[in-house]
Symmetry: C2
Subunit: 436 residues, 2 copies
């Protein structure tokens, strides 16, 4: 019934950066031009593309006559209506977004590192004060419309917890380790060969990428602004095929979880860590490089959103969704809703309660189990189950605990490591779903 | 930073119907009043509640002084700003929504039967012509923000297929049959005792409820208006524990799927049927009464939304989301985007291609397998695998076919049933993911 009118106003877009996402965005804006006019109410015209190096070779569909290396002038050009920032990193991205917002231009960005920094919080505040959209669906979980669902569909909802798999590289590695029983280092090499992991994989495997997304989610879901450094963070490098095998035997799979939750009335926990997730939980079925986020709302109950967390085209599709929003809001002289800021404070990590899985290798002689068990008890960690496996020289003890304070568990681990009869203390891992 | 201003305008809401969803809605509007003012920009005031019978007992929090049995006057009352229709069924719901829209009032409804009828299409057209919102997130998949994601986040996206589990009752039944190896009739009785199935379960178990939701989804996802009767529909009553056991052995689980997809450039298939879904597919892990919808977009790739498909509070939470939207749009003098209508036609069911699972019981004597195999071949159905189990008097043959035309498969089944040596032809079931 609606149709693209030739009289539709033109909205001129500046694109900063022309990497994989930028090139895919240019391609989408051209191939779906008529549909986008119908949906946004305006003809979306690419008015300029800022790049760092004009001389670099680019795909044919990137129009050479629109390229410029003067991004700073482009974002304040009065003929530009909307700015899309796809450069990434802190600078010059931060200053360019600031200039654009100060000139009253809505900004769409996929820049998670920036958004999860103090400058990112300042930019969100600036956009709000100026009544200009700063939209960032593509910054968390790629094509998954997570920010919009939290911002709009669940707007009447008190969110208790958001928990998800937000890093595709680590999920790919854990999936392969689970399927094939292979070790972390071997799968990492495979992921690097496939282009799914960087040559320096630190940001992914140590959880830093997930922590930045977690910080952004905390703001969107709970209205509480934190930065990456506020998110307690543990990666997957310590996980062995043995841990995954035990998890399987007990009915779990190992996932790297990003968790944001309310603790009591006014505390918030934001963290990233591996966890043993029951096989029957929807997050357990999220395989390979897919992302998924599980949301627990007071009245909506449990929701999960699943999809591609990265890649040029999926990320560009999220940017297009934001661009349509920004354009509609521009024409309607309104802005996207911003979640109300809530008071609160970060819950100390040491006070978090969780059940744990822990393996230790001990001398295979009478009395050792008693010594070890005493250490758990002395630190208020209650043992739910213990299995013993006899290896060549040692006995391997596999413990599952009842819910315990993280601080108590850490002290238990330190005390165990100090015992002569304990030859090795393995990776402790949280077991999902056991609070008490 | 935003805060509820005492000066916020008042938006007066009429609620039609005061069943489980209505009561939950009243409760949410009261308990979350301040938050909703912040989010919607207006104070949401319940101005009237229309019920069929004033004398019936109601929960304490339903304010008696707002009750009326004159819904027709309420919806045209000039002091009412927004109408929420929760009566359900065709009439008087249809006429009331029509009056409200004609008076220029936005309407929020959860009425799937109406929306999936010719009158429902007419009402959507009327709303669009009048420039008034008709919002219905709660009509499909309860608390899952499916309509909004399709309407807004994926608006720049060409949707290829939407496929999901949209009926909680049948998914509960299939989950229990799978977990416990029990038969349909026994689990149905259990579901009825738990209040998860109606005393007359026809609408759920024959797929009619799912078909209505499929019709609505076809309009939202593909911009193509169909009614329930256009959706080819098969329920779960023919599925035995044997079928579920074989599915498990071959690596599948049985799910009742609602499918909407493009076939070629200008045809659309909309259907509901049981199917064998690979265990590794995200839909396979959707258990009990949960709903989930899998979306395949050209650039966003695969997305899935998962959550509670029914229940008073989850459904009311979806209504609240729509109410906030309607209010914001009312204040901003705009409306929610409506997907552009696309030309197209329904793909004939007989032409659909799918792999099939089929069991038949035959006389256990030489030559029978040859006769049976010939019948498949004569109807252009190619056998991928066959297993034989010897029962007391007969041999049971379990076939998986390559992708075949539905028409050819139906003729094969009819021809098999006409053979003397064939004692029983079981339920044929589509096998997901095999096209060619």
């Amino acid at each position: 019934m609606t149709s693209a009118r030739p009289s539709a106003p033109v909205v001129r877009i500046a694109i900063l950066g022309s990497g994989a996402v930028g090139a895919a965005l240019i391609s989408l804006l051209r191939s779906r031009s008529d549909d986008l006019t119908v949906q946004s109410g305006a003809r979306l015209e690419i008015a300029g593309i800022a790049v760092a190096d004009l001389s670099r070779a680019r795909p044919d569909h990137v129009p050479g006559d629109l390229l410029t290396d003067d991004a700073a002038s482009l974002v304040v050009d009065p003929s530009i209506d909307v700015v899309v920032e796809l450069i990434g990193g802190m600078e010059p991205a931060g200053s360019l977004i600031r200039s654009a917002l100060e000139s009253g231009k809505p900004v769409v960005t996929a820049n998670k590192a920036l958004l999860a920094s103090p400058e990112g919080i300042a930019l969100r505040n600036l956009a709000h004060e100026r009544g200009v959209d700063l939209l960032y669906e593509a910054a968390v979980a790629g094509a998954i419309p997570l920010v919009r669902v939290l911002r709009e569909s669940l707007t009447g909802e008190r969110i208790q917890r958001v928990m998800g798999i937000v890093n595709g590289t680590t999920n790919f590695i854990l999936t392969k380790m689970t399927d094939n029983g292979t070790e972390y280092a071997d799968v990492l090499a495979e992921a690097q060969d496939l282009g799914l992991a960087e040559r320096d994989p630190t940001a992914d495997v140590e959880g830093h990428d997930a922590a930045a997304k977690t910080a952004i989610l905390t703001g969107v879901a709970l209205g509480f602004d934190v930065v990456t450094a506020d998110v307690s963070c543990e990666g997957i490098t310590g996980i062995g095929s043995m841990d995954i095998e035990f998890a399987d035997r007990f009915g779990y799979v190992v996932k790297l979880l990003a968790v944001v939750e309310r603790i009591g009335e006014d505390e918030i926990s934001a963290r990233v860590h591996p966890a043993m997730v029951p096989k029957s939980h929807p997050l357990a079925g999220v395989r390979d490089a897919f992302n998924a986020v599980f949301i627990e709302g007071e009245s909506a109950g449990e929701l999960m959103l699943y999809g591609q967390g990265a890649g040029g085209l999926p990320t560009a599709s999220a940017v297009v969704g934001d661009l349509i929003d920004a354009t509609r809001n521009l024409l309607g002289k309104t802005t996207a809703p911003v979640p109300e800021r809530q008071p609160g404070r970060l819950h100390p990590a040491a006070e978090l309660r969780s059940a744990y899985y822990l393996t230790i290798d001990v001398e295979d002689r009478p009395g050792v189990l008693g010594i070890v068990s005493t250490v758990f008890g002395e630190h208020n960690v209650s043992i739910r189950s213990m299995e013993q496996e006899d290896l060549v020289d040692v006995a391997r003890l596999i413990f599952l605990t009842h819910a315990s304070r993280e601080g108590d568990m850490n002290e238990t681990i330190a005390a165990l490591a100090a015992i002569d009869a304990v030859k090795r203390v393995g990776n402790a891992m949280r077991v999902f779903g056991e609070r008490e």
